[in-house]
């Protein structure tokens, strides 16, 4: 589904990603962990298409197509979704209106008719209920004045209505209390099937108890320096990153 080969990314001539290799197949969940500033969000944003980041070399293919050749909105309509670490506040745009617009934009992209008002209402109602969200939420301006937790839930709500093929969750669990975390994880697990895949960026092993990953990768200093199964996350939780940093240091000596 997604194949990243030797990806190098810079911003304003400063190298941030320094040769990422990652292959993701349908049905898989990949967790990406790593210290602050190691490049996790950068990788997520590059996949989503943020043009501030310059791909200096390497390739990303998605469903056998050159992903880097697609516009941001084309990637989205092709099934890529990014839940932002810091969702953007957009005053003046009602959440309900926004959700309707993005659902219909996706349908138009697939050559489907717009949803009727009744079907749309049903969809929004069922997804907000699934996430234990108040309906009042829908009439507020998009992320405007939302609490940290509300913003994260709103990201998952958008994911749920769009039903993407590849969802990247960038620290969606940060700042969530345990109840909210369970609801978010349930939302993700309800969506999981053999056709779609998830990249879950997190600092906390706790999330991975609820969303079980097939692979855990450690991103450090712009590279994936270690990959393993979910036991790697437990080890990181227990021992921190120092042992990995040491491994990397001794390997380069």
């Amino acid at each position: 589904m997604l194949n990243i080969r030797d990806l190098h990314v810079a911003v304003e001539d400063m190298a941030i990603l320094k040769g990422i290799n990652l292959e993701i197949k349908p049905g898989e969940v990949h967790a990406i962990m790593g210290p602050n500033g190691s490049g996790k969000s950068t990788l997520a944003q590059v996949i989503a298409g943020k043009d501030e980041y310059e791909v200096t070399s390497g390739t990303i293919t998605y469903k056998n197509e050159d992903l880097l050749d697609l516009e941001v909105d084309e990637r989205a309509r092709a099934g890529i979704f990014l839940a932002f670490q810091y969702p953007v506040e957009i005053p003046g745009v009602s959440t309900a209106h926004f959700l309707k617009s993005i659902v219909n934009a996706g349908r138009e992209g697939r050559g489907e008719d717009e949803l009727s008002a009744v079907e749309m209402l049903k969809l929004l109602r069922s997804k907000t209920q699934m996430l234990g969200m108040d309906q009042k939420f829908l009439s507020r301006a998009l992320n405007d004045g939302f609490s940290g937790g509300e913003k994260k839930k709103n990201e998952i709500l958008q994911m749920a209505v769009l039903n993407p093929k590849l969802a990247i969750l960038d620290e969606t669990d940060s700042g969530l209390d345990i109840d909210a975390l369970k609801i978010v994880a349930d939302g993700v697990n309800a969506m999981r099937n053999n056709d779609n895949a998830f990249i879950v960026v997190t600092h906390y092993q706790r999330l991975l108890n609820y969303i079980e990953p097939d692979f855990v990768h450690v991103l450090y200093n712009g590279q994936i320096v270690k990959s393993g199964d979910k036991s790697l996350a437990l080890k990181l939780e227990e021992k921190g990153y120092d042992w990995i940093k040491e491994e990397v240091a001794s390997a380069t000596v």
């Binding site: 909105d73 990637r75 953007v88 005053p91």
Partner: protein
């Protein structure tokens, strides 16, 4: 051919003289007094040039260079909105439509109220019709004379005096003391210029009595296949003690239209006046708003938006004169500029020495979305009282790139995302409209315009 400004003035002056002669015969001395005052003011004034400080960014040369000989008054549709119910008056080329042929068209979905007078004894009573009809009514005589006296005692600018001088018969709305008019009064203006450039001069005299409340909507709507034309509109608005008027102005003139507007508002103590504006159409538009606070505890609200594309030029000027204590003024003007569009905002607030404990807020914000678009913003605040709360400012910016990226990652195209953000920017203004249904009416025209711009951009992108 007329070339010099003086020649042009003489052409208009002779039109005024003709009207003064006509009126002299039949309409009574109040109408004549107004027209003669207009004639004198016009004769003493001169058309502005860009050397005048207040006209620095807007030249009226193009308006004056046209010869307005078109007289066609044939095809006409008065598009009555379905968002709100109203008492509707339709105007073609500045003249209130009264004949039967037009009545049937007006009747289609609405009502024809060329003189919708209901006795002032009732809660709902008001007059909406032509000034000559109003003056023939003994119940209105006194109110009208005192307003006319006030008008004739204040200076009148060149465009207003031209309009008042040439206008066939101004429209007159009188809301008697204590009346609460439940339905908005909607004035719909249309111009037919198929047979040549046309100038029309709608003039409105609006009087809201003591403790009375009303909503008035002015719509300047486009007609199909319109060529060059000129709308020169002016209103004199009186809001009595503790009265309340919400005044809406939707301007969607045709592509080749010139539009000048002047509103002068006289408010009595404890009154509220709000004007809610959308400027969307026309080639060159200039709107002057003049509010004077000559009594205590007055509230005035000015909320306006504009959108320009192509080489549209829109100039909004406001002057709020705080002369008395305990008053409040709020002003917010927002604009979105595309292509080679031009926007001007000149907002002046004077707080005179007596005007203690007043609050005056003014803000102008613009999104300039093309390197060739220009916004000139000049908020001016002059304070001569010491115990007041005032703020003013102007911001000029672009769309937030992070917001654009966020929206696009959800599958919205670049144009759809931009349209959404522009709408959100302007919605801030519409959110202040007290009447939700009228707000929806305005939004429908705004959306139409933003969609047109988005389609145009998408097509241009596809070609290049």
């Amino acid at each position: 051919m007329h070339n010099t400004a003086e020649d042009i003035k003489q052409v208009f002056l002779s039109q005024i003289d003709q009207k003064v002669k006509d009126v002299n015969g039949h309409a009574g001395h109040v109408g004549l007094k107004l027209r003669e005052y207009a004639r004198t003011s016009f004769d003493q004034g001169s058309f502005p040039t860009r050397k005048d400080e207040d006209w620095k960014y807007t030249s009226v040369k193009a308006i004056l260079a046209e010869e307005y000989n078109g007289a066609s008054k044939s095809e006409f549709t008065c598009s009555i909105p379905d968002q709100f119910e109203a008492t509707t008056l339709c105007f073609l080329n500045g003249v209130l439509v009264t004949n039967d042929e037009h009545k049937t068209k007006v009747a289609n979905g609405g009502e024809d109220n060329t003189a919708a007078y209901v006795s002032s004894g009732s809660q709902e009573g008001f007059f909406a019709g032509s000034l000559s009809v109003a003056m023939a009514n003994p119940e209105l005589k006194e109110t009208l004379s005192s307003s006319v006296d006030k008008i004739c005692n204040t200076p009148m600018g060149i465009f207003e005096s031209m309009g008042l001088g040439i206008n066939e018969d101004p429209v007159c709305i009188v809301i008697p003391d204590n009346a609460q008019v439940s339905k908005p009064i909607h004035l719909i203006y249309a111009t037919d210029s198929k047979d040549g450039a046309t100038a029309s001069h709608p003039y409105a005299l609006i009087i809201v009595g003591k403790n009375a409340k009303a909503e008035i909507v002015e719509s300047y709507l486009p007609q199909a296949d319109n060529g060059v034309y000129y709308t020169n509109t002016a209103s004199r608005i009186f809001v009595g003690a503790n009265g309340h008027l919400d005044h809406y102005r939707l301007q969607v003139e045709g592509k080749e239209a010139f539009h000048t507007a002047q509103s002068t508002i006289h408010q009595d103590r404890d009154s509220t006046y709000g004007v809610y504006i959308a400027e969307l159409g026309g080639k060159l538009m200039r709107n002057n708003i003049h509010v004077s606070h000559d009594s205590e505890n007055i509230t005035s609200n000015i909320y306006g938006l504009f959108v320009v594309q192509g080489s549209q030029h829109m100039d909004t000027q406001s002057f709020i004169d705080h002369a008395k204590p305990h008053c409040l003024s709020n002003e917010l003007i927002k604009g979105v500029l595309h292509d080679r569009g031009r926007g001007v905002f000149n907002g002046k607030i004077i707080v005179r020495p007596d005007a203690q404990k007043i609050n005056a807020y003014q803000h102008n914000a613009a999104l300039v979305l093309s390197p060739d678009a220009v916004m000139d913003s000049k908020p001016q605040l002059e304070i001569f009282a010491d115990d007041v709360k005032c703020s003013h400012g102007a911001t000029i910016g672009q769309l937030n790139p992070d917001a654009l990226f966020y929206l696009k990652t959800r599958g919205l195209s670049d144009d759809a995302a931009k349209t959404l953000l522009k709408n959100a920017f302007l919605k801030d203004v519409i959110d202040h409209f007290p009447n939700r249904d009228i707000a929806l009416y305005f939004e429908s025209y705004l959306e139409k315009k933003l969609t047109q711009i988005s389609i145009k951009n998408a097509t241009e992108k596809a070609i290049s």
